[in-house]
């Protein structure tokens, strides 16, 4: 393609947007509406997943040892645990640390001073934090079979709830994103179809003169991609503008849930949302114009 033809095609694509201003506005509005819904939904889901992940990281399994087990064996068990794939990190809690925490928590300084011996002498343990909460059961089964392990404490309810919630979020996300995309492609193809009907004659004239399919299609495709990009930028701008206010409002409105409501920053959200929205907007614009023009090229 000649440089002059390339510039001409680009220019025509841009001019077309203004030439069919109402059609362009309708297309931009449709893409924006779909991508705004997508952006809002994505922000909610990704924050929810982040909160669940944060809660998951607090879930631990505690391992207690047989009475009188040697320090060397305890160390050996710690090494074995550390090598397991289910394990994110292991923390050793000595009997002294266990007692210190317990008395601070339940008695306070003065009353606890009355104790001369450590009542939790056999309570040294490993606190194990999981890489994936759904793997808790397999880890516990293995731990119970390890020689020298007296007891394994875990929270079955928390683990299964979080694990179930994660799966639910994944399924709902895929479902809703799928529906949103299907709706947006349907709306875009209808909007483009109306626009193409208006310009069917123009395409016919081009074809009679001897224009190649590529030459006919290029300005429409460029127009579609620009409309898609604008359609993506508008909801991104809106989400950027309102995200922090919404987060502040939720935190103010539900102060009792501050430990649970941990939100991602808008920058973290946008690391994924910007490229995905732009790709979707430009992709929808490209596909919408490419396929719709194709139907009219057989002249």
């Amino acid at each position: 393609m000649r440089i002059s033809t390339l510039f001409y095609t680009l220019k025509q694509g841009i001019i077309n947007i203004f030439r069919n201003a109402w059609f362009s506005l309708a297309s931009i509005a449709t893409i924006s509406a779909c991508l705004l819904l997508f952006g809002i939904f994505y922000s909610v889901v990704i924050n929810f997943q982040y909160m669940v992940k944060a809660a998951e990281q607090g879930v631990s399994v505690t391992v207690f040892f047989d009475e009188g087990l040697s320090e060397a064996r305890i160390q050996e068990i710690g090494d074995l645990i550390g090598k397991r794939t289910e394990v994110a990190r292991v923390e050793y809690v000595s009997a002294e640390e266990a007692w210190e925490t317990f008395r601070q928590e339940y008695f306070g300084e003065e009353y606890a001073d009355g104790w001369t011996e450590n009542p939790l002498e056999n309570s040294s343990n490993y606190e194990i934090y999981l890489s994936d909460v759904s793997l808790q059961q397999s880890l516990v089964t293995w731990l119970e079979s390890v020689e020298g392990v007296r007891q394994v404490n875990r929270s079955e309810l928390t683990a299964s709830t979080l694990s179930g919630m994660n799966s639910l979020i994944a399924y709902v996300s895929v479902g809703i994103i799928g529906i949103l995309l299907a709706v947006s492609i349907f709306l875009i193809s209808n909007t483009v179809m109306i626009g193409i009907q208006v310009r069917k004659e123009e395409i016919n004239i081009m074809k009679y003169i001897g224009a190649t399919d590529f030459f006919v299609r290029s300005p429409f495709v460029i127009e579609g991609m620009i409309i898609g990009a604008i359609g993506a930028c508008i909801p991104l701008g809106m989400i950027y503008a309102i995200y922090s206010s919404v987060v502040d409002y939720v935190i103010d409105r539900f102060p009792m849930l501050t430990t649970l409501l941990i939100f991602l920053s808008v920058e973290q959200i946008f690391k994924v949302l910007v490229p995905v929205s732009l790709a979707l907007g430009i992709g929808i614009g490209f596909m919408g114009s490419f396929t719709t023009v194709r139907k009219h090229l057989h002249v």
Partner: protein, 244 residues
């Protein structure tokens, strides 16, 4: 047999720019549009195709534009068999044709200059050449002073001149005109026909489908008369045959 016929190639004498050999065209519904049409047009000829509605004139133009393929027979244009022409080569083929329609088919949102330049853009002529060629072609059709006007600001005759300039700007060897005076008053019709005659005298083969009896009778060119999909008359310096 039909399969072999579709792929045949044949040497066509260079002087015969358009050759139809036993061309038939049947649509899915209705009577056949063309039946066994044989027609040869020589380079540089001026030919009128006349006939009533439904006689097959429009089908003939569509076949020459390679918008349709014949059900049977072969069509050679400039030695190229349109039946075996691949779809991807159709744009290149059409660049050998200038086409003028009854309804002008101008791009309504572009001015006269842009409408004519458009045909050169399509064949990727450099912009600096387009800037030279378009004003020169507009002078030929008498519209040099109206290059900035939009089609709606022009009379029917002027619009048809723009369409003619667009059809001729790439200097095609063949000019196909489908009812070029159908939407024009007698004065403008004559002006367009005079232009077509001048163009023909410079060597372009001109094929005009028309209903205009007066023009056909006056111009004394070759006249091919069609009726119900067949050629019923083909006369050098002929006239419009009245239908009974």
């Amino acid at each position: 047999m039909a399969l072999f016929k579709r792929t045949k190639t044949k040497a066509i004498p260079n002087e015969n720019i358009i050759v139809l050999e036993k061309v038939s065209k049947a649509y899915a519904t209705g009577a056949p549009a063309l039946t066994g049409v044989d027609l040869t047009i020589k380079r540089g000829e001026f030919v009128f195709i006349v006939g009533d509605s439904g006689s097959g004139k429009s089908t003939l133009i569509k076949l020459l534009l390679r918008e349709l393929l014949p059900t049977d027979g072969d069509i050679y244009v400039n030695g190229q068999n349109l039946v075996t022409l691949k779809r991807r080569n159709v744009p290149k083929y059409r660049r050998n044709l200038g086409v003028v329609f009854q309804d002008f088919r101008l791009l309504k949102d572009r001015n006269v200059y842009e409408n004519v330049a458009f045909a050169q853009r399509v064949v990727q002529i450099p912009t600096r050449e387009i800037k030279k060629n378009v004003p020169s072609m507009l002078s030929v059709v008498g519209l040099a002073g109206k290059y900035k006007a939009k089609p709606r600001q022009l009379s029917g005759g002027e619009q048809q001149r723009v369409a003619l300039a667009r059809a001729l700007i790439n200097r095609p060897p063949i000019l196909l005109c489908d009812e070029p005076t159908g939407n024009l008053d007698p004065k403008n019709s004559w002006e367009i026909m005079k232009l077509l005659d001048q163009i023909n005298k410079k060597g372009t083969t001109v094929l005009v489908v028309t209903h205009n009896r007066e023009i056909v009778n006056e111009m004394q060119k070759r006249v091919v008369t069609m009726k119900k999909g067949v050629i019923v008359s083909d006369e050098e310096k002929g006239g419009y045959i009245d239908e009974d």
